[in-house]
């Protein structure tokens, strides 16, 4: 449906006096394939190149090299010197600032795509289609309102109606919820996904918010520094992150440094020796005995005071607790290694108490060191206590 192959983009320096070659590339060889009707999300921290990528797809930026194919039609190819302009790509797009034209009414804003390119729709058909689009976003009554007299949420809906009205091949959304307040954002998340899914439109969604990405997407591409680090379903990304960066950007995690002590030829499982003992877990391909690795466990993945016959069971002492409501956030010291654990709020756990932690082997993910090194070493645990920093760009 939509494929990008080997996209590279470096912006020219803004200040000419700085000279060329000083800006870091915004995209370094990105390749993705999006299926028809799929809800595909580009997730990553601010400045990682998501907007750039979306603008390349839209035809608002020109990549330095690579190919973009849409429904079998090549819309960009550096090798073949093809560039289809934005207005000919038949797309819908919701901009981060919504870009609702303030000199038009809601109706005129939404009618705009239908009036372009000499489609020659009769007044009647045009009006019907615009009203149908406004119906879908529940704004029928606002059709004649001048655009400046809309709230943020309403502007967002107008932008959505405008993007959908022309029956685009792909709809592109650039952090559409980031300008809404928290409550509205939760509502719109569900509404937006239901809407595009019910229409069966292929959707590319850009966000830096892991909750949005996980809850809305069919598939996610996690980006960092202009590259796709990992691609997969939300469950893939959460349960089987391939790098320390992925494990920390999507959800919270404990990273426990250790060394592989043995593997076995007949099964995927092996043992990793960490500071407080040996953890038995599944080893990734190509890991050698003696290698330094990180074992990643989610705070939710650790059992507190489970059955005594579980493997990977260790005793520790609770150093602090914080009652969150949905769960009890506790910090446990295991022979000098502190771990973040989410226990049931019904367990009466208090500071200073001894607890037994067990690590079910299929919940432990072994991350290779060179990959782990991407996000830098040191202070690992204290970093993972915080939310991934969500700077808005």
């Amino acid at each position: 449906m939509l494929t990008l192959e080997g996209l590279h983009k470096t912006y020219p320096p803004t200040d000419p006096s700085q000279g060329a070659g000083k800006t870091a590339p915004a995209l370094r060889g990105v390749s993705i394939t999006v299926e028809k009707g799929e809800f595909y999300t580009l997730l990553g921290p601010s400045g990682c190149g998501k907007t750039t990528m979306l603008q390349c797809i839209a035809g608002l930026e020109t990549p330095d090299s690579g190919d973009i194919t849409m429904c079998g039609e090549v819309v960009f190819s550096s090798a073949r010197n093809i560039f289809v302009p934005a207005s000919k790509r038949r797309l819908g797009m919701v901009f981060q600032s919504y870009a609702i034209w303030p000199h038009m009414t809601v109706f005129e804003n939404v009618a705009f795509p239908l009036r372009q390119g000499g489609k020659g729709l009769s007044k009647q058909v045009l009006g019907d289609r615009v009203m149908a689009a406004l119906d879908r976003v529940k704004l029928r009554d606002f059709a004649n309102r001048p655009a400046p007299y809309l709230s943020g949420g309403q502007q967002q809906r107008v932008a959505l109606a405008r993007a959908l009205v022309g029956e685009p091949r792909v709809i592109l959304l650039d952090e559409p919820l980031s300008n809404l307040d928290a409550k509205l954002r939760d509502e719109m998340r569900v509404e937006l996904r239901d809407l595009v899914k019910s229409l069966g439109i292929t959707t590319i969604y850009v966000t830096h918010d892991q909750v949005e990405a996980l809850s809305m997407s069919d598939r996610i591409a996690l980006m960092k520094d202009g590259k796709v680090i990992q691609e997969g379903t939300p469950a893939d990304l959460y349960m089987r992150p391939k790098t320390a960066f992925a494990s920390e950007f999507v959800g919270r995690s404990n990273l426990i440094p250790g060394k592989v002590v043995n593997g076995s030829a007949d099964s995927d499982y092996g043992t990793v020796a960490v500071q407080f003992g040996d953890i038995r877990c599944r080893l990734p391909d190509g890991v050698a005995v003696g290698e330094s690795v990180n074992v990643m466990v989610r705070p939710h993945g650790i059992d507190v005071n489970g059955q005594a016959d579980e493997i990977n069971r260790f005793a520790g002492r609770v150093r602090g607790t914080s009652f969150v409501g949905e769960f009890l956030d506790i910090c446990v010291d295991l022979k000098g290694c502190s771990l973040r654990v989410y226990a049931s709020p019904y367990d009466a756990i208090t500071t200073g108490q001894e607890v037994a932690l067990s690590f079910p082997p299929d919940r432990c993910v072994v991350l290779l060191p060179d990959e782990a090194a991407i996000s830098g070493e040191g202070g690992r645990y204290s970093q993972s206590l915080e939310q991934p920093s969500h700077r808005s760009d």
Partner: protein, 582 residues
């Protein structure tokens, strides 16, 4: 950011809000009284003067009479005057704004080469006084010895004077050209503040480049262009310099020059009551325009898109047209330079003559020698330095304080202060000049440079307050509160926090006021005596004498002095703008 922690004597620590403090209130009241004296009092005198019987000064009679109003309303040429004024203002503004919009679009939205250079040239142009330009145009295109006419006669075999600067259309045209840099600055601002996503949205949803321009960019710019236009019409209705230098010879009178002529009659004792009455009419016209301006500005506010981002505009690719476009802009600058070049040439000549091989042999420095030797000219130069330094500094200090009250205080006094400070926008300088003359004619201030300083402060405070108002809105109040909590008093807070943080804007405002104070001829001419002459009024005197080569040399000295002041700052400013755009 410099912390405003002061070592204060604990007993004097006051963290009460400045409005509550006595100090703050005293300052606010003092400012209010000052503005009333500077701006409201002259207008009251003007009104009083218009109601005195003809030929009397308002101090010496206690009778009221409507005679002046009758004679103004029944004067046969009142309608002509108003029509001329409007034709001149509208014509020059339409021409200037159209040209400026084109150049601004090229510089802000396309990949035209030499963007920074064009910007610097535009912003530095305020260093060239209008009166100097007008002299240059006269030398270029007067019907007798104007170079253009000489060339036409020589090479195209025409007779007579095909081109004359002394006509309403010519005057309108050169005024329009001179207006471009001001209009450029405003329109470039409009373009920079427009969210480029609005245009991208058009492109993605099927619109071609042209139809994006037609259905998005242009309609969005209209309210802004309109309010820029009205603001400039307001300024051009009040304009005095081109109409004086070109219009008097052309016998094309506008309201401002008529008032000047009435107040400076050569044949009879000056009668100030009739010009005062004309002034009242003029004032009414200007105030009406001002209301129109506010209406359009409010309309434009509706269109403003609420995003507080710095935009990276998408630039339109001119491809093969890059250099042709730059050439057109270059031609504009060349046209603007012509008047200066001819003055430069003349300043090295014993008497005015068109450039020729023969004339080249007569180059002389005598004019510059006399500029720096004649005591009258030397006095004009030193007076100008005093005038420029004092009025610019006073205006900026007062403006920061007034704007601070207007922005920060929720009370009434702030509103009054702002309204009063803004009023001079609607008071034509000639009107204020007559009013100032009426008030101070019999005081010791009359005939000193300080009276002109005072008048300039009254006029330019409107500009200063407006720029400082905009700048202060950007400054988070907590920065100031932090200083107050640390024990700084109001003055310390202004000096240590507000002034340093707003330094770039203050410097720019200072420069603007300095340049305009140096080029203004309205107040220096209305208030002229032997002792308070400044360069601008001395130029006019020399030109009228006529001592054209000396006037040319003095023009060059003035332009050079202003360039030295203005250009370095503009270069720095556009550098830092390029950096911020990143």
């Amino acid at each position: 950011m410099p912390a405003a922690v002061q070592s204060v004597n604990p007993s004097s620590v006051s963290i009460r809000h400045p409005f509550a403090s006595r100090q703050g209130q005293v300052v606010a009241l003092a400012l209010l009284v000052l503005l009333l004296v500077l701006i409201a009092a002259p207008l009251i005198f003007l009104l009083r003067a218009s109601l005195t019987p003809p030929g009397e000064l308002p101090f010496f009679v206690d009778t009221y009479s409507l005679e002046n109003y009758v004679s103004v309303l029944t004067s046969p040429d009142l309608l002509d005057l108003i029509l001329n004024t409007l034709k001149y203002a509208l014509g020059s503004v339409i021409f200037g704004v159209t040209l400026a919009s084109g150049i601004a679009w090229l510089v802000e939205r396309t990949d035209i080469p030499f963007q920074t250079t064009i910007r610097i040239l535009m912003y530095s142009w305020m260093a060239v006084p209008t009166i100097v330009l007008a002299f240059g145009w006269i030398l270029l295109a007067n019907p007798g010895s104007g170079i253009v006419n000489l060339l036409l006669r020589e090479f195209f075999n025409v007779t007579g004077s095909p081109i004359s600067i002394y006509s309403l259309p010519a005057m309108t045209l050169v005024t329009g050209l001179a207006l471009v840099p001001t209009a450029f600055a405003m329109i470039a601002g409009l373009l920079r503040n427009m969210d480029p996503q609005l245009e991208s949205a058009g492109a993605v949803h099927g619109a071609t480049t042209f139809s994006v321009f037609q259905s998005v960019t242009f309609p969005l710019l209209i309210p802004g262009l309109f309010s820029v236009g009205i603001l400039l019409v307001m300024a051009m209705v009040q304009a005095f310099d081109f109409p004086l230098v070109l219009g008097l010879t052309a016998k094309v009178h506008v309201l401002s020059t008529r008032i000047y002529l009435l107040a400076h009659s050569d044949i009879s004792r000056p009668d100030y009551s009739l010009p005062a009455t004309f002034g009242i009419f003029f004032l009414v016209l200007a105030v009406a325009l001002m209301f129109a301006y506010f209406r359009t500005v409010r309309m434009g506010e509706r269109f403003r898109v609420v995003t507080g981002k710095a935009f990276r505009p998408r630039r339109f690719s001119l491809n093969g047209w890059r250099y042709p476009a730059a050439t057109v802009v270059g031609l504009y600058f060349a046209l603007m330079l012509l008047p200066l070049l001819i003055l430069l040439w003349t300043s090295f000549q014993p008497f005015y003559q068109a450039p020729s091989i023969h004339a080249l042999t007569q180059l002389t420095l005598a004019n510059f020698v006399s500029v720096f030797e004649e005591s009258q000219i030397l006095r004009a130069i030193s007076n100008t330095v005093i005038l420029v330094m004092c009025s610019a500094t006073l205006v900026m200090v007062l403006s920061v304080m007034i704007a601070w009250y207007a922005v920060r205080s929720k009370g009434r006094i702030g509103k009054y202060l702002e309204l009063l400070a803004f009023a001079p926008m609607a008071i034509p300088p000639v009107v204020l000049a007559i009013a100032v003359l009426l008030i101070y004619l019999r005081t010791p201030l009359y005939g000193t440079i300080w009276l002109i300083v005072l008048a300039h402060v009254s006029v330019y405070i409107a500009f200063g307050t407006r720029t400082m108002h905009a700048a202060l809105l950007q400054l988070h109040q907590e920065l100031e509160n932090a200083a107050l909590v640390c024990g700084a008093n109001w003055f310390v807070m202004l000096r240590r926090i507000v002034f340093p943080l707003l330094r770039p804007q203050i410097l720019n405002g200072w420069l603007w006021v300095a340049a305009h104070s140096a080029r203004d001829i309205t107040f220096p001419l209305f208030l002229i005596t032997a002792t308070n002459v400044v360069v601008a009024s001395e130029l006019w005197v020399l030109w009228e004498t006529p001592e054209i080569p000396t006037a040319s040399a003095l023009s060059m000295v003035l332009v050079l002095g202003l360039l030295v002041l203005v250009v370095p700052v503009q270069i720095l400013a556009s550098r830092s703008m390029a950096r911020e755009a990143h």
